[in-house]
């Protein structure tokens, strides 16, 4: 063993390394040229045929946690997988309210109180070439009710029993859903992606656990999942056998960039075409650079959950609600990109009630707290590190509560640990999070006794009873009344500090045309083209 040998080894390593490094430089350049025009914006031109072969690159702020649509819970999951899978119905937004329209279903009819007939469209293909049949629907819905946390939540009643008693297949395209009792939100809930339809074989193959191979990610949607690198990107390709309007985009690339600056600089420099998770503070900067900013009222209700078992006195919970100056928060912290919570459900939901506001009233808050003997108590406030805005909000809340005599200690936690502490162990005093329901009924089921999303463990039999009645009430106006009643009860019982509904803010380069946004942070890419 001498020096020359050592140098030879190093030389070989260098040679190997050089080849590797040069390779990683040359790949991923793609077919684009970036041309700078005299303004400060850069425009991206395509070398090859415009539009048909376009690649749309989207920056996401969080990672996908699963490739199985029935296990999807996060915004990123639905965003990406929502291009691959479709449900029987679809949620659309007309600018002020949500609507639930038939999608894979051609027509449907309520046969009686507990039976609904559905007829599928003809000629819908899965991405593996198979035709969509009612058998696939049955298997998918059953799998969703069995495995999916959200699916179960959507399709169970107040006592936790599955709403659907059976799915009867009539022929390849027709089936009947039999309910145990009338369930009025059925249609809305069948529009949720957690009840998306997948091929029967795949549903059966993964009857006991999540899909864990990209080969088995097969849906009826306009894009196919080509590859997924955990923590960095997901690549989708247009499905040319799609039954609906074929998108102009050929390739979809989702880049996972948790760092806010990363997303901003990516869109400013043209590395991505669309950036989600844009902070309201950035809007002016982006617009000044020629980036378009889209904004839509959101469904995400940012709240501070109050543990009802530890703070059972409703006066205290109401006091906490009076202690917060929501308009200041919305105006200053969110730069106006939020709506002060006037109810428990976002105004985009048909039937969302506007209730008597908890105005900012420090003296009233103090009064209530004194009355309840709660002055000088110390509480811990849990917040997940996943959202920096939530962490900032925690500090603002801390200050407001201090002003009414409640000392709050902030504990920030890693996201999964936070989920466990709040939703499984229920070991917290206060916790900040923001549920994003897809329908009004679903938003209210959070507050059912023992519901899995019921972090504060709020329990009011009146609420449970009202929700049950709503599900069974076939008369629409009566139902709306009941909806209002139940919202009022929950609002007044204050199992949480109702803060605001976060607007969905998305940035897109001016070359992106035809983009639409849904209030639950979902992009609608049907009509998008690069022009």
């Amino acid at each position: 063993m001498n020096r020359k040998f050592l140098y030879l080894v190093i030389l070989i390593i260098i040679a190997v390394l050089a080849s590797y490094v040069s390779e990683s430089f040359l790949t991923r350049r793609g077919a684009f040229i970036t041309i700078t025009v005299p303004t400060t914006s850069t425009t991206v031109y395509l070398l090859s045929n415009p539009m048909q072969n376009a690649t749309l690159r989207i920056a996401l702020s969080t990672d996908i946690s699963t490739i199985d649509i029935h296990y999807a819970t996060g915004v990123a999951d639905f965003e990406v997988l929502g291009n691959v899978y479709e449900s029987l119905f679809r949620i659309t937004y007309n600018g002020s309210k949500l609507a639930y329209i038939p999608w894979l279903v051609k027509e449907f009819k309520q046969l009686n109180d507990t039976a609904w007939l559905f007829v599928l469209r003809n000629g819908i293909m899965f991405q593996n070439g198979e035709r969509l049949t009612a058998y696939d629907v049955k298997a998918s819905l059953e799998r969703s009710m069995r495995l999916s946390g959200i699916g179960k939540q959507l399709l169970t009643d107040a006592k936790g029993r599955p709403v659907i008693s059976d799915i009867v297949i009539i022929n390849d395209t027709a089936f009947i859903i039999m309910l145990r009792e009338p369930f009025t939100p059925l249609i809305e809930h069948l529009a949720h992606l957690s009840t998306a339809i997948m091929p029967r074989d795949i549903a059966l193959k993964y009857w006991n656990g999540p899909i864990n191979s990209t080969q088995d990610v097969i849906g009826t949607g306009p894009f196919m999942l080509e590859s997924y690198e955990k923590g960095s990107r997901a690549v989708l390709k247009r499905f040319d056998g799609y039954w609906g309007r074929k998108p102009a985009i050929q390739n979809l690339v989702y880049l996972i960039l948790p760092d806010a600056n990363a997303r901003i600089s990516a869109i400013l420099s043209g590395s991505v075409d669309i950036a989600t998770g844009v902070s309201p503070d950035m809007v002016n900067t982006l617009r000044a650079q020629g980036i378009e900013v889209y904004r839509v009222t959101g469904v995400r209700l940012v709240l501070v959950a109050i543990n009802c078992l530890r703070i059972p006195d409703v006066r205290v919970r109401q006091a906490l609600n009076y202690a917060i100056n929501r308009s200041a928060i919305v105006k200053e912290l969110m730069d106006g990109y939020a709506q002060v919570a006037m109810g428990i459900a976002s105004p985009v939901f048909p039937g969302a009630a506007v209730l008597e506001p908890y105005n900012y009233n420090v003296s009233k808050a103090r009064e209530l707290i004194e009355e309840a003997g709660f002055a000088g108590k110390k509480l811990t406030l849990l917040v997940s590190t996943r959202s920096p805005k939530d962490v900032q909000l925690a500090q603002v809340v801390q200050q407001y509560l201090k002003a009414v005599g409640v000392d709050v200690e902030i504990v920030q936690m890693e996201h999964t640990a936070f989920l466990k502490r709040v939703f499984i162990d229920h070991d917290f005093d206060l916790a900040i999070y923001g549920p994003s329901p897809s329908s009004l009924y679903y938003a209210l089921t959070y507050w059912r006794t023992n519901a899995s999303l019921n972090g504060p463990q709020y329990s009011n039999p009146e609420v449970d009873m009202l929700l049950d009645r709503i599900a069974r009430e076939v008369n629409e106006s009566k139902r709306l009344e009941l909806y209002r009643d139940v919202q009022e009860v929950i609002w007044r019982d204050a199992p949480a500090m109702w803060l605001y509904f976060e607007d969905v803010v998305v940035a897109a380069r001016p070359s992106v045309k035809g983009l639409q946004i849904l209030p639950f942070q979902k992009l609608v890419l049907d009509s998008v083209y690069i022009g």
Binding site: N261, I329, T385, A394, I410
Partner: protein, 269 residues
Amino acid sequence: MRGLVAKISLGIIFAEIFLALLANFIAPYPYYRVDLENRLRPPSPTHILGTDPLGRDVFSRLVYALRISFAVAILSLAVALLIGTALGMVSAILGSVTDAVLSWIFDVVYAMPGFFIAIAILLIIGSGVMGTAAAISLTLTPIFFRLSRSAARGVLVKQYVEVAKALGASTLRIALNYVGRELMAVVIPAAVYMLSDAIALEATLGVVGLGVNPPTPSLGNMISEYKDYVFVAPWLVATPIAIIALTIASLNILAKELDKKLNAFLEAA
């Protein structure tokens, strides 16, 4: 010229320690006072370094952050130094089984990524000043252990120790007299270098979100929070970065000077 640089470094460190100790009196505003209507203001006469995304005075936060960062760094360093050096010395003197076991333990700690040590501490102690200090201590202790162990072993094989043993000196006396002296010469310069590492570690932990809890400011978590605002308020993130760079650079320069002086002293002795 060399002397001037060292003097400037010393000045910087003293100034920072001064600010840190008297943070309470020097800070014009409470570091936690949120003022939503005055967010992201540039430096002005009322706020020397401007305001942060929650309207808090950046200068006030900075002096408190200095206090926290220094406190955490010095505390962790002290603990790591004491425990690591003591165990290293014990390991070298007692030898055989004790040495094998201790070396094994520290090799394992050394092989663990800092991220995991931080997570483990988070689990046991929880987040906050104590947890952060514990995590940094744990990361630095193996280094002191190794250092003192090899230095002690170096001394123990020297002739004069054999002579002392033959003359009947107890193990303790040997430890304190001969080994201890040698260790000080090795460990103290290392410690000064390590101080800048401790500060750097605290900043790293803060940047990745594993440090102290809000609203407590630390240099690391200020950077982590303010970097998202670089497009609207670039001065925000520049300050803590500049302070960290200055601090670490000054500490490094001082460490080098101390090292030189100590070497010269020992050579003369």
